[in-house]
Subunit: 78 residues, 2 copies
């Protein structure tokens, strides 16, 4: 069964580096990876927040939030 | 060719969660993943620092440091 992994970002340089390297490195045979640009999909900010995301870039795997470096606080995306 | 990914941690709860979830999710067909416990291998703190690691848990992929959440500053491990 595939585990859901969601990578939230906002297009910032820190986000792009994490997307290209960390999100790209996930095992696609085990994980279904969705990339969400919160700057362009503001309707999903609440979903990220509910998952415990405080800043982007962040990766939510199995409902657990992992903040990867620091690009921007979620509050600036609301 | 396999890319080198090094996961640095210090056994803290935040580290263990990141290890079990993020380090575990990396595609082993493309990445050679090494797990380094800096509390037990203090001789490798300098190597992590040279790679730009400031805190653990951190993942270094292709020489780029990615700090995943925040467990402890590297300075407390010296």
């Amino acid at each position: 069964m595939s585990t859901k992994a969601t990578f939230y970002h906002a297009g910032c340089p820190v986000c792009v580096a994490a997307e290209r390297t960390v999100a790209e490195a996930l095992d696609r045979s085990k994980y279904t990876v969705e990339i969400v640009h919160l700057g362009q999909q503001k309707s999903r900010v609440a979903e990220a927040e509910n998952a415990g995301v405080k800043s982007v870039p962040a990766l939510v795997i199995n409902g657990q939030p992992f903040h990867i470096n620091h690009g921007a606080d979620l509050s600036v995306l609301k």
